[in-house]
Amino acid sequence: MISINVNGRTVQVDAEPDTPLLYVLRDHLELNGAKFGCGLGQCGSCTVLLENQPVFSCLIPISTLGARRVRTLESLGTADKPGPVQRAFLEEQAAQCGYCIPGMIMRAQALLERNPSPSRREILRHMSPNLCRCGTHMRIVAAVERAARLITARAKTEAET
């Protein structure tokens, strides 16, 4: 049994130590957010956060995680209560097939936690590890920009109250 911390909970997983985190998230913990795309760290559809850093969960064996905290799409919100990045993607209708979108949202989340008002150039550079095949890129960038505005506006309201 290997102990890992996912979305704020420590769970025991009965899997071989070399099992990549992605398979444990999907197959053992039944979380759908992270998706298998390439298994090679080339497409980003498996992106999750590891201690605030976006990582390819398809490449990280669970034995290397230790106590480091893993966050997946499911930690950001629900259909009834979406997080700001999820809300921005909805408002921009930034999906076609949507398969790459959880990875996009997680990578954008990492950027916005570090820098709540990134420039367009920073967004493009930051998002480049993630691939989209439907050509939804323009809406994804618009959604990240909108999420930045939502987060900044919320921070401002909270600072004022």
Binding site: N32, Q96, Y99, N130, R133, T136, V141
Partner: protein, 744 residues
């Protein structure tokens, strides 16, 4: 959600549940039935897919509590079709679209509408659903008139009820209890007046997007059935490789391994957990000994080799040949094999239980796949059910059907256990059917009036449709000890065509001759990729139009309009040009502009695009700076849905056009991942993509999904030529090719 429940209902269940609808009778429905029976042979064609599924209750069912279920044989592929279909149904039934339940492609529940392909879903399914819904509404209004004792014309309809002027009402649920929706549709329907539309034409948010943003299970990839196990297939390393030997003993003992399946050169492993299956499959791949022989063309000479293959030559525009010399110009355009490259590799879940084989699949055609799997497994078709669930982006015939076949074979090998199989990245890149390599030559002559007097176009291509139906179209079926032979390919007939799709220019020339050279030999596996041959043909035609416009010293937009009378063609061209600022454009430094137009299939959506490209002088690398497009796909049910798909089409076509080619040596495919087959990444994005939807309320639906592919390719090539003088006629438009041809 559609059919995801493992204990999903069968068609028989539906009919039984709809019993309330099929027992009672009404004057109105009797009149409809009588009308249909009087002169069946003289009946005019029914609209859309009502032609093949004419019963109203195949499309619309209303339960006693008033809840409405709409059925479609088409599938959500990420194109937003569910939302558009709910909008047309809601419009005609005068209800809130959110009140509807929509059931999509499922051989156990929905009409057979063949494939979700060819940008046909709006023409086929939305048209059928809209007419069926309008006829159901009329039927209920007729009943309400009788029940309330007032003239039908005085009744109003809304929120699932029919109201009399005095305020009395009858709900759909009450009315439906007195009638029978199991009646044949009529050819004419009392469609709502476009002036009164409440739902059609509105950019409603897509119903499929919210679950995708929060990780709610919606994809077949996310389906988890009780007791489900995982499989991986060890595919041959090349198309013809034979399995010489494989010692499976060590793999048999690996933790979690439940079964190794070997049938001829079909090799797979089933394990308890997914990663155990992956690890076991990798071990098997290391142990397998394959015999391979070179069977692919030399990559350096593949186009010449391809054109020399035997071809079936079909004249599709009968003008006289254009002679060479004396003012004739000609050019040759080439397109390599290109992939669908869905971000998630293909996946399916199969379960064989109580003599029924159920396959959950992201196939584009559940009924054809059902037939193919029945043939493959030798089960009667009634014992096979294919249920569509969403998959990763679908741009044509990818590995989805093959994965369905894998799931069928592996579920049969382990009865009673649901088996999930997903392809690995390398499998999808190597085994999916590609968009065919294509070559075309065009020769034209300019007349004294500045118009093209003669035009001859020849195109060489493989098939663009090798879908199941037959089991022989499923890759796993080729590898069994008793293999299924691949059927001989056939050219798709005009007017839609395959390799010759859009090969006949829409422009009016003095003489036009077009010949389709159909090549049956398929060295690499090919089938339908978004827009089929139209991608290459429009690239070639629209590139050459610019070349001839240059000879005529004419503005490319004006030159196109000179040869076009079709007013809707002229409208999209003018709209794209005006919104781009074509007239006042100044070419500066490294930047140039390009334009292109096509009417998809010459019978569907009109699309025009203007773009600006910047070329790096050192490397020759082109970047799309901005694109402005206009599309007319008939009545716009959901304008933002049309924009979303069209933006996607532009960016995907840009990726094909600037970056993409399958690579191979004489034995194997060598483009097996995203490093050997690079595609668009964020850092190469344009600054803006602006899509203008020209709405035509009341006009037929024409479909949207594929209109942008060809014009985008040509607009990019034309802009590169405008910026640098480099006329690149070989796809993709790589920096090396651009740099090699730069003249300014």
């Amino acid at each position: 959600m559609n059919g995801a429940a493992p204990a999903g209902v069968t068609r028989r269940d539906f009919l039984a549940a709809g019993g309330a609808l099929v027992v009672s009778f009404s004057l109105c429905s009797r009149a409809l039935t009588a009308a249909a029976q009087t002169k069946p042979e003289a009946a005019p064609a029914l609209p859309g897919s009502l032609k093949t599924a004419p019963m109203l209750d195949s499309w619309i069912r209303i339960a006693g509590d008033g809840s409405i279920t709409v059925f479609t044989g088409k599938a959500e592929l990420g194109q937003g079709i569910k939302t558009a279909l709910m909008q047309v149904a809601a419009e005609e039934l005068v209800v809130d679209p959110r009140a509807l339940t929509l059931v999509t492609a499922d051989t156990g529940a929905t009409p057979d509408e063949r494939y979700t392909a060819g940008s046909q879903s709006m023409q086929d399914s939305a048209t059928a659903i809209r007419h069926a819904a309008a006829q159901v509404r009329a039927l209920l209004v007729g009943l309400a008139a009788g029940k309330l004792g007032v003239a039908a014309e005085s009744l109003t309809v809304g929120s699932g009820a029919v109201r009399a002027p005095d305020g009395r009402r009858a709900t759909y649920g009450e009315l439906v209890a007195q009638t029978n929706l199991h009646v044949t549709a009529q050819s004419e329907s009392p469609l709502r007046d476009p002036a009164t539309y409440a739902v059609i034409g509105k950019s409603l948010q897509r119903v499929d997007i919210p679950p995708k943003l929060v990780g709610v299970s919606i994809y077949v990839h996310d389906l988890r059935l009780p007791g489900m196990v995982h499989a991986r297939v060890v595919r041959p390393p090349s198309y013809g490789a034979r399995l010489n030997s494989v010692n499976t003993t060590s793999v048999q003992k690996m933790r979690g391994v439940l079964k190794i399946v070997q049938d001829g050169r079909y090799l797979a492993v089933i394990a308890q957990h997914e990663y155990q299956a992956v690890t076991a499959a990798r071990a098997l791949a290391r142990l397998a000994v394959w015999d391979e022989a070179p069977a692919l063309p030399s990559p350096d000479d593949s186009y010449n080799w391809f054109q020399r293959l035997p071809s079936q030559d079909i004249v599709i525009a009968e003008g006289p040949p254009t002679s060479a010399g004396a003012g004739a110009v000609e050019a040759t355009y080439r397109r390599p094999y290109q992939i669908h490259g869905s971000i998630g590799p293909s996946c399916a879940v199969g379960r064989y239980q109580d003599n029924v084989l159920t396959i959950w699949t992201h196939s584009q055609g559940v009924y054809p796949l059902r037939d193919a799997i029945a043939e493959l497994t030798k089960l009667p078709a009634e014992s096979v059910r294919c249920v569509h669930m969403e998959g990763s982006g679908c741009y044509g015939h990818n590995g989805a059907d093959d994965a369905g076949a894998d799931a069928a074979l592996l579920a049969m090998a382990l009865p009673g256990r649901p088996v999930r199989v997903q392809w690995m990245r390398e499998e999808e890149h190597a085994w999916e059917p590609y968009g065919s390599m294509m070559v075309s030559t065009v020769r034209a002559r300019l007349g004294g009036n500045g118009q093209i007097s003669d035009w001859q176009y020849d195109v060489w291509s493989n098939s663009h449709n090798e879908r199941p139906g037959p089991a022989g179209q499923l890759a796993p079926a080729w590898h069994l000890a008793a293999p299924f032979a691949k059927p001989a390919p056939k050219p798709a007939p005009q007017p839609t065509g395959g390799g010759d799709r859009n090969a006949i220019p829409l422009y009016r020339f003095g003489n036009t001759r077009v010949v389709n050279h159909f090549i049956a030999t398929m060295p690499l596996r090919v089938s339908a990729l978004r827009a089929l041959g139209a991608y290459h043909n429009v690239f070639a035609i629209e590139s050459f139009m610019d070349e001839v416009a240059g000879m005529a010293k004419a503005d490319p937009v004006e030159f196109r309009l000179r040869h076009l009378e079709d007013p809707r063609a002229r409208d999209v061209i003018r709209a794209a040009a005006e919104r781009f600022g074509w007239a006042g454009y100044q070419r500066t430094g490294r930047r140039g502009r390009g334009f292109a137009f096509a009417k998809y299939k010459n019978l569907a959506a009109w699309f025009a695009i203007a773009c600006e490209v910047e070329v790096d002088r050192e490397s020759g690398r082109p970047r799309l700076v901005r694109a402005v497009a206009a599309i007319d796909s008939g009545e716009a049910v959901n304008p933002d849905g049309i924009r979303n798909q069209t933006e996607g089409g532009i960016l995907q076509a840009m990726s094909w056009t600037l970056y993409e080619a399958v690579t191979f040596n004489q034995t194997r495919i060598t483009s097996l991942d995203w490093s050997t087959y690079p595609i668009l990444r964020f850092q190469s994005l344009p600054d803006s993509v602006d899509v203008h939807v020209i709405n035509r309320p009341g006009q037929p639906y024409l479909g949207t999904g594929e209109a942008a592919q060809g014009p985008t390719a040509a607009a990019l090539a034309n802009a590169i030529a405008n910026a640098t003088g480099a006329r690149v006629r070989d796809l993709p438009l790589t920096p090396r090719r651009v740099k090699g041809l730069m003249r300014i």
